[in-house]
Amino acid sequence: MNPLTYMRFKDALKEIGNMGSGKASAALSRLTGKTVMLDAPNIHITSLARITRYISAPKKLIVGIFSPVDDHISGAMITAMPVESAVNLSNLVSKKKNKVLKTKDKETLLKIGQLLIKSYLQEMAHFLKLKVRHSRPKLISAFGSSIPGLMASNIKNKEVILLKIRFNIPTTEIKGDFILLLGTDNLDNLVSAIKDKLK
């Protein structure tokens, strides 16, 4: 790819990330009754070994709802948030005032995460006219620095595309990231789908 094409590809991927997270944030907004704000997307095409630096809060305990992604594109998606945000989100949705995550709260978070991942990936797949399948999500709890390793289990390449969009719900202390990690073996399919949109 020449530099201009590379920049356009990154711009297109950002926009596709915006579409996915726009849909996911609308689902979260309906669920919570609150406005959900999104930051500008961050995209990095880098080596798997270097992605930890792009993950927020590496030293903090993170709760993530994680799902491998397969079919026309393969990789993994996670909705990750600091544990305090996860508690606040669970409380907001279930109208509770818990201080820690209990079993029921984890089930609630898993359902929320499932909805967000599904909304994000369906929108992306629909827009790009690609088949994107995701497995049943799992709830994970780990330090931020461990998240890339967990996500990388479904990645075949050493080079990856990391697309991260931060969300927050003002006035609630809830914030987190939608993170999509794809191996660069997906480049051909992505470039071809993006080109089709510009025909």
């Binding site: 915006n18 849909k23 944030s25 999104l38 500008a40 827009f127």
Partner: protein, 118 residues
């Protein structure tokens, strides 16, 4: 003349190509709110397509508000990924004529543009 405001060159190109294929022509483009306001003042376009998720220096909603202050009869359509009801409601209250999801069927966008330009 139609003013396209979107910070993504990809999105602008995609929307413009589809509208041009449908017979619309004479476009001007802005990748931020400041440039958009300058172009709006200079050209007074018949229609503005605005992405509400706009990076600095001016947000999409502020760009809309300032366009409506410049011309209370301006026709501004929101073409965005932001589908949250309260944000769309805020945009309509500021004067936007309609909302079209950016990732949706672009034929809906063409129909909406035809209606807005009637």
């Amino acid at each position: 003349m139609i003013l396209l405001i979107d910070d993504s060159g990809f999105a602008r190109a995609m929307i413009r190509k589809r509208l041009e294929a449908a017979g619309f022509q004479d476009f001007i483009e802005a990748d931020n709110g400041k440039k958009a306001l300058r172009l709006f003042k200079k050209h007074n376009p018949r229609l503005v397509l605005l992405d509400i998720v706009l990076g600095p220096p001016i947000t999409g909603l502020d760009t809309l508000r300032q366009i409506m202050e410049l011309d209370k009869d301006a026709k501004v359509m929101i073409v965005s990924v932001m589908e949250q009801k309260n944000i769309i409601a805020r945009a309509k209250k500021l004067g936007a004529v309609c909302f079209v999801p950016k990732s949706g069927d672009l034929n809906d966008l063409i129909k909406a543009v035809k209606v807005a330009l009637r």
